[in-house]
Subunit: 318 residues, 2 copies
């Protein structure tokens, strides 16, 4: 197990304008670990209820995801229901039943404690800090959060951010966090809260408009993968985080150039994730598909002045 | 004169949350030709009133813009007033006084009729077609339009689009045009209206989220240049079009790779344009600043796997 992921394993009920599904396997840790599994072996710290069957377990173990940290507790699993607008750009939460998640006290298994790469999915900042305090050898820690914690637990969020290398949030969260509309200004404020000694990184996800990554004076922007038909945006952000952290864990390299590549792999996983309902598409991706989509991203974003010398020597700079 | 630009030369009164100005030189042909002047010699076909002074003229002739097609008519110049929201992302038109523009019948001077590169700024599609019919040697024609014409003159717009190589519009216009929220679907519908024999191109501008360009199965996406302080978004789209068309005119090359570079130069000119009120910033840009911003765009968007062979040979693929 190389990448420790904390988050939710849940049953999602999803309505889109085209399809709907009830009680399908979801949750931040599920999407994140499935996406990361293409790059490294993730291990999950989460809790499920008695309704989590061997069939559900198999979805994760099929991808070699370590489940030693997946606690099974009496009662029902966390369940979430949401309905998307006609253009899939906004959604309404229909219900949130925390169930076994309500009293979840994350326990990091002995084997996980030396994890160098850790992703703290979107839960209460105090729980995120609690998990982090159980680890002893972290090299690179990522964190996701949401408007709810920015509104309800801002001091705790700011506290845990001091121990984090990379924060991954969306544009509306960044604006709410900083009261700045301009994302460049917002990024500076957020990075200012983090620990400068860690050379902190911020990724702002912009939905169909891609993402921007900030570190010091560096900025990288990547468009979203153009998709004509999005089936279900649920889990896109978690899939991005999984691809990003998975690639960083695989390559053990956090320099700026490699962080950019991690953004690309994260975006690739997010683009697959939304193509089918729930985790369906993440379960069936092939390595070839990932490689092709990497090339698609290059074609989508790169421009070159002529390189006659490179062409002459038959070196493909693209 | 190498690039024929038709559009408005106007006096703008602009209110932003920070500054305001009354009756400053503006209009689509003004911004477009100033931006294009860094790459080629543009010539304007437009009309001004008696309030257009030699001082205003000098702003354009200083940049070697050909004014043979700029008619001076009795009365006042076109005047526009607008006020921006606090985040500069939306604006309200305060007044539109067409004045001399009301009865404008564009006359293309003899010297302009053989223009190979033509940009039809945002006016009535019938006038755009009229201008085009006065030219005899066009190789590459660009067109801008707006919601107003999509709503009021759709058949005429569709008609003129058949004679155009590239349409440059914004995302809300593309959605209104096609009744498609998904921009990939919208792009296919719009390209389907244009003349397939011309291998038509569509650029959808997405404001602070950059742009996407479509041609056949090709897609290119470019983020906006990150700016912490935007002074005045007026003319950003026209400056983009000017930089884009200017670069294409200069290089006389419309292959896909060169179209991408034109997008970058267009975005560079737009990013300068918004840094000061009106055309102020466009009047003072240096070639060095353009070159630096080109490199900034590369750093902002490019990612590379290691190229050991290229590195060994000392070839910089970036």
């Amino acid at each position: 197990m190389n990448l420790l992921i904390i988050g939710s394993v849940a049953f999602d009920s999803i309505k889109t304008p085209f399809e709907s599904v009830e009680g399908t396997l979801g949750g931040s840790a599920t999407f994140c670990s499935l996406a990361a599994s293409f790059f490294t072996q993730p291990g999950i710290v989460a809790v499920v209820g008695e309704d989590f069957t061997s069939g559900h377990k198999k979805v994760l173990t099929n991808k070699n995801i370590d489940l030693e940290g997946l606690e099974q507790a009496p009662g029902k699993s966390f369940a979430w229901g949401g309905e998307y607008s006609f253009d899939l750009n906004s959604r309404t939460t229909l219900f949130t039943n925390l169930n076994v998640f309500e009293n979840f006290q994350p326990k990091v298994p002995e084997n996980y404690k030396k994890s160098e790469y850790v992703f703290l999915g979107n839960i209460h900042p105090l729980l995120q800090k609690d998990v982090l305090s159980q680890t002893t050898h972290t090299k690179f820690v990522g964190l996701d959060t949401m408007n709810y914690w920015i509104e309800k637990a801002l001091p705790e969020l700011k506290e845990v951010l001091r121990f984090v290398n990379i924060l991954i949030i969306n544009d509306s969260e960044a604006r709410e966090f900083t009261h700045e509309h301009n994302l460049l200004k917002a990024s500076k404020k957020i990075l200012g809260i983090m620990d400068l000694m860690r050379q902190p990184i911020l990724i702002i996800k912009r939905g169909e408009n891609g993402l921007s990554m900030f570190q010091g004076s560096h900025i990288f922007s990547l468009p979203a993968y153009p998709l004509e038909d999005v089936a279900d945006p649920t889990g896109a952000g978690d899939s991005f985080a999984g691809g990003f952290m998975g690639y960083i864990t695989q390559t053990e390299n956090t320099n700026w150039e490699n962080l950019k590549l991690a953004c690309v792999y994260g975006s690739i996983m997010a683009s697959f994730s939304v193509e089918k309902l729930g985790t369906e598409r993440l379960q069936e991706i092939t390595q070839d598909e990932i490689t092709r989509r990497f090339q698609d991203f290059k074609n989508l974003t790169h421009f070159e002045m002529n390189h006659p010398a490179a062409e002459l020597l038959g070196i493909n700079c693209n």
